[in-house]
Amino acid sequence: MSDTILKVENIKKEYKNFILNDVSFELKSGHIYGFVGENGSGKSTTMKAITGLISLNQGKVSAFDKDFKELTSDDREKIGFTLDEVSLPQNLKISLINTILKNAFNHRDEDLFFKYLADFNIDKDKKVVELSKGMKAKLNIVISLCHNASLLILDEPMNGLDPIARDEFCTLLSDFIEENNDRAILISSHIISDLEKICSDFIFIHKGEIILEDSKKNIENQFLKLTLDNEEFNSFGKKKIVRFKKIGQNCDVLIENNEENKTLKGVKPAEAEDILIFLIKGKKYEEN
């Protein structure tokens, strides 16, 4: 088997007010991919397409070297999916949910489930509805982890979590990959700072199209940023500017990372979050 766990090729999905257009990317084992974009950029639609929740107008999804439609039930169980909210009957006790899932999935590791519950201090005798938002998010991910998934697809899993819970969550995901390098995670968020700690790669999506896809290191090595006042901006070599944003009397500028630009006064490394904001909200300089 190749190290590509999931391959998305030119998928297209048309809605009345939104088009997911020609989206392609690959997920390789041993990597955590941050899937980043604004609200409404197409993250959830892409994830739904990957997991078979929606049909496609065009394109192909394959996982574990097989076309998605040819995946067996056992193959499908290797894909763990969580939504931003708990997708379980909330009026039931967690121990009962375990009984249900034990019966509904072929490869469920019950011992691991109870181990995770103990690690996260989740009381198995509580009903789901009685858990805090953070606890629910943890339960959500624990459920995905316990049917021996090789690929986790997590749609905004950290929504509403406090900083401590976010940190625990990040550790859990890192451990998941470290334990077995044949696994991969695709995690979406509109808050990149959450993902910067754990993601090895980023996929940026904007208005239904992938605008950048590369390793975190390569993305951050591609660009530099600096802040100029208006006077400096006007005299700055415009050809150097990839994107710029005017903020009051100043102007933030994204420039390419090359030997010449590195020597500029005040230049700083651009982090993934800065780059995304520049690419989405920044303007291209057009000489006219």
């Binding site: 997991t51 039930s73 999916f81």
Partner: protein, 243 residues
């Protein structure tokens, strides 16, 4: 099969919180049915012409008891079918349907489980019909009374199949919210159809075994056909469902 068992378990456990109200409603159905059976017998006896033969009197009593109990025989399956809608509604509310499909439980498994669950929730309704039918049989002296109540129960099974499969098809096609509205409309037609069959059977089938058998087994076969057809229709709808 294992996955269906797991999903059935979920639906049963989820329905537990509604168990008390379900039992209460079915007890009401049973009590009303028994009351209607007894009162229709007393009424028919009171107005009876003394010149009518004992056999004819017994047939008349059976007819009036069954006609009175159409209310229970028909409304109880309708109520039973609401169990499926409730189960769909809960899955949509908690996003369990999305989770299940995305986690590798096939759409066919989900529809098949709902179909099975639909049949399961009609069991209490059938038990109520059995109780009412037994009361009717005990009170009557007609020589073929057990055959008659057996046929009534078979017609009732047909009704249960139709109600539960119609509920399935509306929920898979339209979701639980829109499905509930259309199901209410369809239920009225279901009630009229099932009530009509009972009425027809009571009128011409009770004292004629051949007609009675034709009506009963004809309706049962048609019901089975409708249920199977609607199952496949539901499957088709669910396979194309977008979450």
């Amino acid at each position: 099969m294992k996955k269906i068992k797991g999903l059935l378990l979920k639906d049963i456990l989820q329905s537990k919180s509604y168990l008390f109200i379900y039992i209460f409603v079915y007890v009401i159905f049973a009590v009303v049915g028994i009351f209607l059976a007894i009162s229709s017998k007393s009424g028919t006896e009171y107005f009876n012409d003394p010149n009518v033969s004992e056999e004819s009197l017994a047939i008349g009593l059976l007819q009036s008891s069954i006609l009175s109990c159409i209310f229970v025989f028909c409304l109880s399956p309708m109520y039973a079918a609401s169990g499926i809608t409730l189960s769909f509604q809960q899955d949509e509310k908690w996003n369990f349907d999305k989770f299940a499909v995305a986690s590798g439980i096939s759409r066919k498994t989900i529809v098949t489980e709902k179909f099975c669950f639909g049949l399961l929730v009609t069991l209490p309704s059938f038990i109520v019909s059995v109780i009412v039918a037994i009361v009717i049989a005990i009170m009557n002296t007609y020589s073929l009374k057990y055959l008659v109540v057996l046929y009534c129960l078979l017609i009732n099974i047909g009704g249960l199949l139709i109600h539960s499969s119609v509920a399935l098809v509306f929920n898979t096609f339209l979701g639980s919210v829109k499905g509930r509205v259309w199901l209410s409309i369809a239920t009225i037609f279901g009630l009229l159809l099932e009530g009509g069959i009972f009425y027809f059977y009571a009128g011409v089938g009770i004292n004629n075994v051949l007609y009675g058998s034709l009506i009963t087994f004809g309706f049962l076969l048609i019901s089975i056909g409708i249920a199977i057809g609607l199952y496949f229709l539901s499957l088709k709808a669910y396979l194309n469902k977008e979450f």
